[in-house]
């Protein structure tokens, strides 16, 4: 261990961030951050569009849950790099080329399991008596799901989305391996060119972005979830 070397890296990274050259052109920090967020957001949105309806429906009916959840969990077991390798030929065969699309395709399976599992578990966990009362009062089945089960499962649904988002933001760096944009660019290029200040800057930006996403979800959750679901002491 050479303490001096470590200090140098931090100094160099700081210097990298203060260099105005890194804020202009197609490789500018703000451009890469935007690309990264765009890719991540789209991946989470598509995954949510697939996983939420399935998770909510299965949670409501309690049907086929075993199969669906296991299929979703396969996504968890597959390494992201392997997914990227799978996604490449798919993207090529669809004429989507390198970069953005194969990365997007490989990120979606990563985001599906936490979203689907949490939606399912959240809905299943709603008090049976509350649902029976709702049905007994004449709420339709979609009405029960929309106005009773979903709001009550919201904390878990949101935490699934949050986990998925943080995972995707962290993993979207892999896109740079297949000529994609985003913050992975700095890491992959920094590694290739042995420019460790650039590599560190990229890693730092990804970590910061992931934390910000986490915090933003926390804020949103505090607003979106009914005060009635907090502990009685808080609500009073």
């Amino acid at each position: 261990m050479d303490p001096g070397g470590r200090v140098n890296i931090f100094v160099d990274t700081f210097a990298w961030f203060t260099d105005p050259a890194h804020y202009t052109g197609s490789n500018a920090v703000q451009v890469r951050v935007f690309e990264h967020l765009e890719l991540s957001a789209l991946a989470v949105l598509i995954a949510a569009a697939i996983a939420l309806p399935i998770g909510l429906y299965l949670g409501h009916t309690g049907r086929l849950a075993f199969i669906a959840l296991n299929v979703a969990n396969v996504g968890r077991a597959l390494p992201s790099l392997a997914l990227l390798a799978f996604a490449l030929p798919i993207a090529f065969s669809l004429g989507l080329g390198l970069g953005f699309w194969p990365t997007l395709i490989s990120l979606i399976p990563l985001a599906l399991p936490p979203i689907m599992t949490n939606a399912y578990v959240g809905i299943r966990g709603v008090d049976r008596d509350v649902i029976e009362a709702a049905r007994g009062m004449g709420l339709s089945e979609p009405g029960i799901l929309r106005t009773v089960e979903a709001p009550l499962a919201l904390p878990l649904i949101l935490s699934g989305l949050r986990t998925a988002s943080v995972n995707v933001v962290a993993t979207a760096t892999l896109g740079a391996l297949v000529a994609g944009g985003g913050l992975g660019r700095y890491i992959v290029d920094g590694l290739a060119l042995q420019e460790y200040d650039r590599l560190f800057a990229g890693a730092l930006l990804v970590a910061t972005l992931a934390i910000l996403v986490e915090v933003a979800f926390g804020r949103f959750e505090a607003r979106a979830v009914s005060p009635g679901l907090r502990s009685p002491a808080d609500a009073l």
């Binding site: 709702a134 709420l139 009773v148 009914s226 609500a235």
Partner: protein
């Protein structure tokens, strides 16, 4: 206060068959409009199943259940349930909604205008004894068990249902609160004129609340009668055991001193001075307890309102009243 008209509820040879057992077997009885009918029996007697067939949370295998002559099986279950109040033991208030929002559930489903829902919710909270100013904006988690049950009753009554189903609604609250809730249910039911079907396994609750009591065993109706008749003439050994060996005392709990055959030939001044003065509304059960406590054979009875002397109640008369119907 809007006086909702209760509906007649008729079970016509209703059977619920599950794969391995018959839960309800050929059930037939009629609850007159505006009356409280208590379904009572041991666990597994089919009382809750019977109740849930009325709003089709459980579908009968055969038979018909008619509300004011219309078979519930001919109706859309969702629409049907909006016209039937439903209260369960665990209440099932929506934890994410305020008490006011909870109470407004069915009116909202029926598409009432917002201000009407609001005024109705406020009115109902007051009716069940929850001060709207204090409770309307609270969440269920902020209420005690008894308060939640009141809110549950308010929610069930919101759209003036002609029929209300109650499944052991007071089973989970402590005896003092239960006693108060029972009294308020009677008041509200008289006031609203709703027909109530009420499931309990507590015979004392049944006797206190019921206009009619349906005793069930193994999915069959064993006896269907007003409480007084049930206590005086139990149909068989099972009913006699179920109502308890103190059924004579329970019957006295349904009768009042004012309604007894009083001896008015005795002067007020001539009554044993140790005797307790009874109000006409005192139940004979309480009167008996007081007389035994003081060791007297007779007690004067006075009018509740003006204190006018009505006559003397004697132990012999009480005993004779029990004997005459036994």
């Amino acid at each position: 206060m809007p006086n909702a008209r209760g509906a007649t509820v008729e079970f016509r040879d209703v059977t619920k068959q599950y794969a391995d057992q018959v839960a309800v077997d050929g059930l037939s009885f009629t609850v007159p409009a505006g009356k409280i009918c208590i379904l009572v029996g041991p666990s597994g007697s089919g009382k809750t199943t019977s109740l849930k067939m009325v709003n089709r949370l459980i579908e009968p295998t055969s038979g018909a259940i008619l509300i004011d002559g219309t078979d519930v099986l001919q109706e859309d279950p969702v629409q049907l349930r909006r016209r039937i109040g439903y209260v369960i033991q665990q209440v099932g208030l929506f934890p994410h909604q305020t008490i006011e929002e909870n109470v407004g559930t069915v009116p909202r489903l029926l598409g009432w205008p917002k201000d009407r829902i609001r005024s109705r919710s406020i009115e109902l909270l007051a009716l069940v004894g929850l001060d709207p100013k204090r409770y309307a904006a609270r969440y269920p988690a902020q209420l005690s068990g008894g308060e939640r049950q009141r809110a549950g009753v308010a929610r069930a009554l919101a759209a003036d249902p002609p029929v209300m189903l109650m499944d052991e609604p007071f089973g989970a609250v402590d005896p003092i609160v239960r006693d108060r809730l029972q009294a308020e249910l009677l008041r509200i039911q008289r006031d609203q004129g709703t027909t109530v079907l009420f499931v309990t396994h507590d015979i004392d609750e049944a006797i206190r609340l019921g206009d009619r009591i349906a005793i069930m065993k193994d999915g069959k109706l064993v006896q269907y009668a007003p409480p007084g008749e049930l206590l005086a003439h139990p149909a068989n050994e099972f009913v006699a055991q179920f109502v308890g060996s103190d059924r004579g005392l329970k019957r006295l709990g349904l009768l009042t001193a004012g309604g007894a055959d009083l001896d008015s030939g005795i002067e007020r001044a001539g009554v044993d001075p140790r005797a307790p003065e009874l109000k006409a509304s005192t139940t004979l059960r309480d009167a008996l307890a007081l007389m035994l406590e003081r060791g007297v054979q007779q007690a004067p009875v006075v009018d509740d309102n003006d204190g006018r002397y009505l006559g003397v109640l004697t132990l012999a008369k009480i005993s004779k009243m029990l004997g005459s119907q036994a």
